[in-house]
Amino acid sequence: MLFERAIYFLERVGQNIRQDAFINLVTISTIAITLLILSTFWLCFLNLNTFLQNWGEKIQITAYLNERTSPEQLEELKGKIREIPGIKEMSFISKDQALKLFREQLGGQDGLLEGLNSNPLPASWEIQLQQDYQNSEKAAEIVGKLKGFKEIEDLQYGQRWVERFSIFLNLLRLATFFIGGLLILATIFIISNTIKLSVYARKEEIEIMKLVGAADWFIKIPFFLGGILQGLIGASIAMVILYSIYKFLIDAISPVMSLSLGAGGLTFLPWNHIYWFLLGGMLLGLAGSFTSLGRHLR
């Protein structure tokens, strides 16, 4: 009996879609485009984020060592620094290497160093940070900890640069979350509005169903299933289009871009995000019909 009912409702939904082809087309396409926007935005955000993190990785701290540090002290210190959370990698630059680098940096002006009789440059460690620590506050924190070691005479990290970069990142994230939040709200709003209009176009049907003795749930279920189906189809279309666009961009623009972007290039949404989008579409469809029916069923 229950099974027969389920079949009945599914058939009903199928027939509704065929009988109101126009409305369904308009509703589904609106859902698709809305979710396409949302997912495109999300895809861009994910890729931009990856890119920025790769970029930000270059932030490093240089710790200049005291002249009087013995190799054993150095080993010990290295162990201690390694324990500080956020440190990813550290490479040692000896006094000689430092002078050589400095000479290279000076380029044409290296005549300047000709009068030197001893090497005045200290040895140093170049310390790379983990991704999560790639911002000015975290970096400053680590610098603070490093200052505590008496073997370290001086510390340098691109403070100004790092500060700017993280302000910029924050600004970008703020904009992203702001637009993203607004987009999600808008998506919910537009989808529910569209479904409202499509339910409104069928208000006579609802009225007649009530008059012949249909219970509320009997009227609602096909609308709910219809909403879920519209949401699912719309979300699927959005995913397919998004993937096509992505594929197109990869093929057309990527050869040029990847040269400069390096390794990673652009990536598509991971499977679980796709899953969430499809589920989200279905829920929005359901919620849309849910809120729309209230009006017409008192």
């Binding site: 009225e207 249909a214 509320d216």
Partner: protein, 217 residues
């Protein structure tokens, strides 16, 4: 079966569409409801299946006090009442079959039962050849007969018909009325609102006359 005690209905503040209606229709009775346009016939029928609520008074249908019925029980009340609406109220995007089937679907009838009953009923009203046609492609009288078929298909305890022969030719009118008489003979209480004076006179049944919202005697 149907009783009304001092029933009033006013849609707008100062006018009564129905005024102090008292009536009693027995189980298995066949009554006409007549009266000029705007007298309140449709309103009276609407009260019986809760499409409108009475402003005052008590209404008993099938032993149940409708004035006190909960919103959620209305569908169950309506399943015992077949209604032929004055304006048909067919679903334009469903076929004749689907329109009639609706009345059975809402009570959860089985597929097979629906199929055979709908077919039988459409045949009774002479529309078996239009079974897959949608209402907008049917003649006025054909639409009206689908509305009648839908009201009859689940053998209701009460049949309310609002001007059910307004778009039918004299021959069909007789056929349909015979149908209603048959159903009545099988125990259904029938109440027909009509302007068709010839019909009322020919059938020798009790007729209630409304005028300006009041029941004449």
């Amino acid at each position: 079966m149907i009783q009304m005690f001092h029933v009033y209905k006013s849609y707008l503040r100062n006018t009564n569409a129905l005024e102090d209606i008292n009536l009693r229709v027995e189980k298995g009775e066949f009554v006409f409801l007549t009266g000029p346009s705007g007298a309140g016939k449709t309103t009276l029928l609407k009260l019986l299946f809760c499409a409108e609520r009475a402003t005052r008074g008590q209404i008993l249908v099938n032993g149940r006090n409708i004035a006190r019925i909960r919103e959620s029980s209305i569908p169950y009340l309506r399943r015992n009442i077949g209604v032929v609406f004055q304006d048909f109220k067919l679903l334009n995007n469903r076929t004749a079959f689907e329109n009639v089937a609706l009345a059975l679907e809402v009570i959860g009838a089985r597929r097979k039962e629906i199929k055979s009953k709908v077919w039988k009923t459409l045949k009774m009203v002479g529309l078996q050849h239009k079974i897959n046609t949608k209402p907008l492609r049917l003649a006025g009288g054909e639409q009206q007969r689908i509305a009648i078929a839908r009201a009859l298909v689940n053998d209701p305890a009460i049949l309310l018909a609002d001007e059910p022969t307004g778009n039918l030719d004299p021959d069909l009118t007789i056929e349909i009325i015979n149908l209603l008489k048959d159903i009545n003979a099988r125990g259904t209480t029938v109440m027909i609102a009509t302007h068709n004076q010839a019909l009322v006179e020919k059938l020798h049944k009790r007729s209630l006359v409304l005028d300006k919202g009041k029941l004449l005697n």
